[in-house]
């Protein structure tokens, strides 16, 4: 534990307390060398690159990230661009639906699986396998299923149900729901696994007590079990939430932002401006907004998890 570095320090204490430089650089040297990749990642990538991005989002960088500081110009332009606003709105709408449905479906599935059913592991396997696949694969399969002429719609019309309509992928007003279907297919199994772990962590005694008191099952879930699963739920929300902000591959594979710009998302906007739009400042400003969104999700969570009680990871 911490005392491994102690003998050295204690020995040298009297004569001259090891100087700050020595404590930082010399003591425990192999460990520091071993942790060098981690420290470099933290300082250069997580801290350095983030600060770099924020700084250059305030410049008028075009093709190359140089230029003079222009204050909030990039942000003003960003929020005057309909494509960005559509992206943000899409993300909010998709994110809200995705979060709610993933949690609800994940929870329902976990409760069902938890009923001492037969073939439990078969059901679990079936529900989780989409999570093993990439968003690209997910997007392309659903693109094919939702293909208006040859997919589900065409098939059911061919079978005689001529009024059947399932053209969400080509319909600007419904395309987010198409995205949602594919996204839920991919992620609900994972949520189920988390929730199941939470449910199984609830003590059997709680159920016995509730039954003795004659509390109906659904009430027990709502008023006792779910509050007890707070930890799992919070974790799930944070994971799903930060995944939603990153939403990119799925959109690229399923709709590529279309029809028109009706399924654009911020991550895609940022990517396009950085790598093909030739307007890096815009991309960086968009990226900074994404960062801000994640911080808004993360900070309250970090505060609740690590701020209140003793600091533990």
């Amino acid at each position: 534990m911490a005392d491994t570095a102690l003998p050295l320090e204690a020995g040298a204490e009297k004569a001259n307390r090891p100087g700050l430089l020595q404590r930082i650089f010399i003591n425990n040297l192999p460990a520091k060398i071993a942790a060098l990749p981690m420290m470099a990642t933290v300082l250069v990538v997580f801290v350095g690159c983030t600060i770099w991005t924020i700084y250059y989002s305030f410049t008028n960088s075009k093709l190359l990230p140089t230029g003079k500081l222009v204050g909030f110009d990039q942000y003003e332009r960003l929020f005057a661009t309909s494509r960005w606003n559509v992206s943000v709105w899409n993300l909010v709408a998709y994110g809200a639906m995705s979060l709610v449905f993933t949690l609800v479906i994940g929870f329902i599935l976990a409760v069902l699986i938890d009923q001492k059913i037969r073939f439990e592991s078969a059901f679990r396997t079936i529900m989780l396998y989409p999570f093993a696949l990439s968003f690209i694969v997910t997007g392309l399969v659903w693109q094919w299923i939702m293909n208006p002429t040859l997919g589900l719609q065409g098939t059911l019309r061919g079978l005689g149900w001529t009024g059947f309509t399932f053209d969400w992928i080509a319909n600007p007003r419904m395309v987010l729901f198409a995205l949602l279907i594919a996204g839920l297919w991919h992620g609900t199994g994972f949520c189920m696994v988390l929730m199941l772990a939470g449910l199984r962590g609830v003590d059997e005694e709680v159920w016995k007590a509730a039954r003795i008191d004659g509390i109906p099952t659904w009430r027990t879930y709502v008023s006792i079990v779910i509050p007890m699963m707070r930890g799992v739920l919070v974790t799930a929300v944070v994971i799903i939430g930060s995944g939603i902000v990153r939403l990119y591959d799925l959109v690229v594979a399923l709709t590529n932002g279309g029809p028109g710009i009706s399924s654009e998302v911020p991550a895609k906007y940022v990517f396009n401006y950085m790598f093909s739009g030739g307007n890096i400042g815009q991309g960086l400003a968009g990226a900074t907004m994404m960062l801000l969104t994640v911080l808004i999700i993360m900070i309250p969570w970090a505060y609740l998890e690590f701020g209140g009680k003793g600091r533990r990871t």
Binding site: L112, K116, V245, A267, F271, M290
Partner: protein, 307 residues
Amino acid sequence: MTATIPAGTPMATGPNEPRGQRPKPFFTPRKIILYSVLVVFSLYYLFPLYVMLTTSLKSMPEIRFGNIFALPTAPSFEAWAKAWSSACTGLNCNGLAPGFWNSVKITIPSTVVSIFIAAVNGYALVNWRFKFSEVFFAILIFGSFIPYQVMLYPLVMITRELGIFGSLQAVILIHTIFGMPILTLLFRNYFASLPQELFKAARVDGAGFWRIFFEIMLPMSLPIFVVALILQITGIWNDFLFGVVFAGNVNYPMTVQLNNIVNSAQGTPEYNVNMAATVLTGLVPLIVYFVSGKWFVRGVAAGAVKG
């Protein structure tokens, strides 16, 4: 263990439930509803797999005039062969095979390097704490939630400066960087769970940092290595963003090539080839998933932090 016995369920009478007291009829209304709901959900999850496989085995006329539910009348792997070796991505028509090998060339070193570095990190964090080590670790974990797009452009510049942009090394470096938080967390927690006496005894015997790592810690950490391996193989294989940005055209991984094949606008789309290509790309993670079973679930649960 199994915590929930909802009211109304007959109490289990032992490990061999069915042989216990007079079995309740299996088809209680409650059970019928329960299983129907589960089956309906299962169909939702299975349908795309079914569609992928059947479509990939059909011929184009059959796809055009048949329906999406139908089984292939004359199953053929022709589309698979084409997807593998001659489907077109833009200008080249070499199929997915180059992408497959690129993915292999990316996944293996990325996995090995990132796991090794994370294992050493985790070990140093638990057994050789130094000034600010916990601070670094906290930032590392917090940093894993920063959207990749925020760090993407500076990383492009860094890899360009290093002279590796557009090469496999760049992708490997990026995967190592972004795999580090979750893997370090994994190893840190695992090493913290090992008995400290072992480490102290080795110290007393005069073993140093690396010797303890290689001779004591590593041999004991097989289970966590398996979890890390599954996490990294599936994660890196399924990556799209880093491949697109850092690999360069010749080195595109399979996911990128797949997307290019299917979503390239030219020519009449060959849905059977597209679906065969999709199956081929999903095959590696699916095999990992089915072979590893419980380990995958553990990896997923552990990898939860990565999101």
